[in-house]
């Protein structure tokens, strides 16, 4: 029986990956996620795994490409500027349809920015980020237990769809400590490399890990295949938390740390003044809960949406898109590494309430 262990967010990510059967970690130092590689450098040798500090994020993601191509669970962890460098590799990985897990402990940008928590990489992660038509399955936890659980899901989804998965977390969730429980522990020797992996050609045709095709129609067929896969993911893998979203006039939309803070704010408003406010917290940012969004927008009882983000406004574009702007969409964002308090959230919601009346 597993017990609850008090752990730092970035370390819990590492332990969850090991428990999910990952034995390969390639990474490059960047704040605020340095505890994750440090933890892996200590733990991997204990479990016969591999930790390697790459010469750059560019190399790290390509090491993932090779290890995933060889048919093994593999991951990296980085933060915003490092993730930008990985985008070329992620495009190749998506094109070659390989399963990898990438953790982005987001910090404030643009450029070198700062090291405070941010959610400014939503576009990068949910809209492709690199060149070409591709999608990254993007998962956003709001607390450490969910972050641990999501690591297992991330590897499963990556394997199931042969697609990169991004765990989009932030500097706050990387740094805080909470008690977590690891539900299962998978034995990596129980995984056999998949049939497509480059394992050496033994009694089978040659395997090729590839995203390259100079034949226009061949490449288009490849794109159709990938897009069909994305459609399935959009139909089957959407995840969100609804906290009174269905029975409220004002629906707050927020994810990750911001979702957690909004929930506290909403709970306070409901307890103190019986306010008609609810929360829709997307857990999968891509695929976005678009059907739920439209369903809420079509409800006569819903008067307005208000999106909160640690950015200048990124997910709010999806809220507008998928609600078809049937109801007003408001936005409140903080940048630079600043995180709003529940009181700041309440103030904004009250102004939205006033306008809705």
């Amino acid at each position: 029986m597993s017990e609850k262990i008090l752990m730092k967010g970035a370390e819990a990510i590492g332990e969850a990956a090991i428990k999910a059967g990952c034995r390969l970690f390639f990474g490059y130092p960047i704040t605020p996620q340095n505890e994750a590689p440090a933890y892996m450098s200590k733990r991997m040798p204990e479990v016969n795994g591999t930790f390697l500090q790459a010469e750059s994020e560019v190399s790290a993601i390509n090491m993932l490409y090779g290890a995933a191509g060889a048919g093994h669970r593999v991951m990296t962890s980085s933060s915003s500027p490092g993730i930008s460098l990985m985008m070329e590799g992620l495009s190749y990985i998506a094109g070659a349809q390989l399963p990898v897990v990438v953790v982005n402990v987001m910090r404030g940008g643009p450029g070198l920015g700062g090291i405070g928590p941010a959610q400014a990489d939503y576009f990068q992660s949910t809209k492709g980020g690199g060149h070409g038509d591709f999608r990254i399955i993007t998962l956003a936890p709001a607390d450490l237990q969910e972050q641990v659980d999501i690591m297992y899901d991330a590897f499963d989804l990556a394997d199931k769809y042969r697609n990169p998965v991004m765990v989009l977390t932030d500097g706050l969730l990387g740094q805080i400590m909470e008690a977590v429980e690891f539900k299962t522990e998978l034995d990596p020797s129980s995984f056999k490399p998949p049939a497509w992996a480059v394992t050496g050609r033994k009694n089978r045709p040659k395997n090729l890990i590839n995203s390259f095709d100079l034949d226009l129609d061949g490449l288009e067929r490849h794109n159709h295949e990938i897009q069909a896969k994305y459609k399935t993911i959009q139909e089957k893998e959407v995840k969100f938390e609804s906290f009174h979203a269905e029975d409220s006039e004002i629906v707050v939309v927020a994810y990750g740390t911001m979702g957690r803070i909004c929930k506290t704010a909403i709970r306070k408003m409901r307890e103190k003044e019986n306010a008609s406010v609810g929360l829709l917290r997307p857990i999968t940012l891509w695929p976005f809960p678009e059907k739920k969004m439209l369903e809420l927008a079509q409800k006569p009882s819903v008067k307005a949406f208000c999106t909160f983000e640690l950015s200048a406004g990124q997910m709010v574009e999806d809220v507008r898109l998928y609600s078809k702007e049937l109801k007003p969409v408001h936005f409140h964002g903080r940048t630079g590494g600043n995180v709003p308090s529940p009181e700041e959230v309440i103030e904004k919601i009250k102004s939205v309430q006033k306008e809705a009346r």
């Binding site: 008090l6 706050l172 909470e178 740390t257 957690r260 803070i261 709970r267 529940p342 700041e344």
Partner: protein
């Protein structure tokens, strides 16, 4: 019940230890706990603070505009955070290093000469544990025995002597109020 604390001091005073021990004792008693560290840009010598929450219920926002409890281990922390204590909240002041008194009448102030008390217990370095003892007594976020266990576990690899100094420091703080 949710008990929340902001502890602040300069790097090396063991502010993070206070927060981590509070979280660890809470988890030992099957409560929910959250520890959120915040460091200055320098690794050593800068200011540091952490927010800790211990609760019977799942914990929501880790961000607080006003704190139930604030612990100031040095003067800059006192100056910075005195105003952030909620009305009817508590301000724990390390009077060994802070010679100011709070003017606030709407909060309870507890002045603890923690460095002197720690020296008495065996080491100046245990001043943070003295403060933790005072805080534990007044808030009862966990049982004293649980905190003693945490001290034994966390300081165990540093040797018996360190453990016993810190247990004494905890006692001194606990019996101070």
């Amino acid at each position: 019940m949710e008990i929340e604390l902001l502890a602040a001091g300069f790097g090396g005073q063991g502010v993070m230890v206070i927060g981590q021990f509070m979280a660890a004792a809470s988890v030992k008693e099957n409560k929910y706990a959250l520890f959120y560290p915040s460091y200055g840009p320098a690794m050593r010598g800068g200011t540091a603070n952490c927010t800790v929450v211990s609760s019977d219920e799942p914990i929501g926002s880790p961000i607080f505009t006003a704190h139930q409890n604030v612990m100031a281990l040095n003067l800059p922390s006192f100056d910075k955070f005195e105003s952030t204590v909620q009305p009817n909240g508590k301000l724990f002041i390390n009077s060994s290093l802070i010679d100011k008194k709070s003017d606030r009448k709407d909060i309870e102030c507890i002045y603890v000469p923690s460095n002197e008390m720690a020296i008495e217990a065996g080491s100046n370095l245990a001043a943070n544990i003295v403060m933790l003892g005072v805080f534990l007594k007044l808030t009862q976020f966990a049982k004293k025995e649980t905190m003693e266990q945490v001290i034994q576990e966390k300081f165990g690899r540093k040797g018996e002597k360190i453990v016993s100094i810190n247990l004494k420091a905890l006692d001194a703080g606990y019996n101070f109020v």
